[in-house]
Assembly symmetry: C3
């Protein structure tokens, strides 16, 4: 079943959301495909260093970091430990934006939070590499959509995106940035401002931003994309609080 | 007070000079703002990995690495440990190029070396994030200037950029590159060619370039942007000379 | 001797293949030159983190990763430990694509594998930096070629590109990617599918792709660019097999 990209004129932006790393050839190879197949569309690297294999963590970041982009933006999303296997590729339209990638849970949070949602399953790949579907399968679909082309996949129930065993908010660190700040899978809107979070055996209070606490003090705050983030003013939260990707935390009295 | 961007047609280039890291979402988020608000202007990442919080080091690099860019280039400059606090944002026009960023000293060296200099203070930010002014405050100003828009700030004395307690040349390592070369805050023009520098307890002579010394030998040289840099032919200066960002050095007989 | 760029209308793409690192200013400075001198031509970073000084390893990667690009693509290739010394710069046309860089062996494998091959030697650099020919010598030539300009160099025998002491396939790891996969200098077409490779004292069998072996198992496979690559399903081959850049391996019974 074909579906007309109802944006009409296509996207004005393609956004990459991957674990490919800026190192090595992978991002460049994907960009080369997009440049050849959708030459007029700018490409932005939003995340290139998502934690390899951590689909659930990436799934928390996606809706938080995609929300600021305009309608019709096309997101190429790849965290894909199952590449080459049976997991299907999908196209998702959520609140006017488009997402393409492997369906291993990456779109679960997006789907749960979206107001308007549709989903198509991509046909089984033809004669392409078994290890680089980002380049050989998903990038051509992203280019086609961005140019205003049709979705060439079968419409499927959006329930296929769900992971019913995943909570609405994920109480662990999902990404540590270069400053040592620890982004979590919890929406700040889900935590009251006076809550003292318990992380790595330590109580951590909320602050509005870095300069509101003394240098060296740890705090949690609603980061610039609405997620709970642990930070230290003029220091590294990962070092001071001994946090890693995956470190769990809890509400007071929580388990 | 409004001021007409006297370049008339706006910039042909926006240059990013930040400590955001290529990791994570920050550079991509800034690029997305620029793409939306100044879609016709190319964006170059000059430095994305300035040493976090090291404003003085970055201030030494800025004039050295900006000098090769054409007039009207717009530099978005962010090393901003005080984000969200009271420190003001500024627009600087120096020798025909434009600079936008937080005024915590980052433009001090540029201001001291510039022939022609003007400065405007940005209004207090409105309802934006308290932790990501690079995206929410400075990028929109850069986009507006690059499009040929007016500076929407109050003209202020250029003395506000100064740090009178900072020397003209900073005798320490300010950046170590991926090859282990150590860029310093000293202009090569300020050091005679026959000077033997004292660094980490070792005397280091000048050479013209790598291939002029035997493999494994350390030397200092005037790097391709006019700064004193320590290097080792076919080796790593940071390892061989035990240098870190911040390692001080001195002239012979200096303290 | 001048030679007309027989692509007529110039390139539609400039590709960077370097060891400059995404860190620091170097890629940005090269991009700025290209942007100024060939503003209409998109630039792709294919490899920015080739192993410093490892010309032979990079020479193995170049034809494998360049083959997918269209004719007339211009590759700016720099792994250049001899920068500033006597080594000449060259322009190579191989199977319709263009390559610019220092001639220290980087084009040896490309030349050996090419069907159609021409080579020109660049004139001795004029008054430019002695340490950054990527920016000051090679980028301007790439921009000129991409715009459809003539090669401004002397035609020289293609034998100057050769390294007769280098084998057709290099049985060692030449690049480790962010997932810990180890790319080698061996074309997969040169190894039968049933061959068990010997690496770091361990036998490693071939698989089609990651999902074809149990999680944690090591295998070798023909990667998405036709090179032999060691990998571990949902793990890191560099850690599991104790591989580094430079680790040698062999065919069964080989030395």
């Amino acid at each position: 079943m074909e579906h007309k990209n109802n944006t009409g004129c296509g996207a004005n932006l393609i956004v990459l959301f991957t674990d490919f790393g800026l190192e090595g050839p992978y991002i460049g190879q994907v960009q080369a495909v997009l440049q050849q197949q959708a030459p007029a569309i700018p490409v932005i690297n939003l995340f290139s260093d998502l934690v390899p294999f951590d689909i659930q963590g990436a799934a928390c970041l996606l809706p938080a970091y995609a929300a600021a982009f305009p309608a019709a933006t096309v997101f190429l999303c790849v965290v894909d430990p199952g590449v080459g296997g049976a997991r299907p590729g999908v196209v998702v339209q959520a609140d006017g934006r488009w997402y393409i990638g492997p369906n291993e849970g990456l779109f679960a949070r997006l789907a749960r939070q979206a107001g308007k949602l549709e989903c198509w399953q991509l046909p089984k790949p033809g004669d392409v590499s078994a290890s680089f579907h980002g380049r050989d399968v998903f990038a051509p679909v992203a280019a086609r959509l961005a140019r205003g082309g049709d979705v060439s996949g079968e419409s499927v129930p959006v329930s296929c995106l769900e992971r019913t065993d995943w909570p609405d908010d994920l109480f662990r660190v999902v990404y540590i940035d270069r400053f040592g700040n620890a982004i979590t899978g919890v929406r700040a809107s889900a935590v009251a401002e006076d809550v003292v979070l318990q992380v790595a055996g330590q109580p951590v209070k909320r602050a509005r931003t870095f300069s509101d606490v003394p240098a060296g003090d740890a705090f949690w705050y609603a980061n610039a994309n609405g997620l709970v983030e642990f930070a230290v003013n003029r220091g590294r939260a990962d070092v001071e609080l001994q946090l890693n990707t995956g470190t769990a935390f809890k509400l007071p009295g929580g388990e």
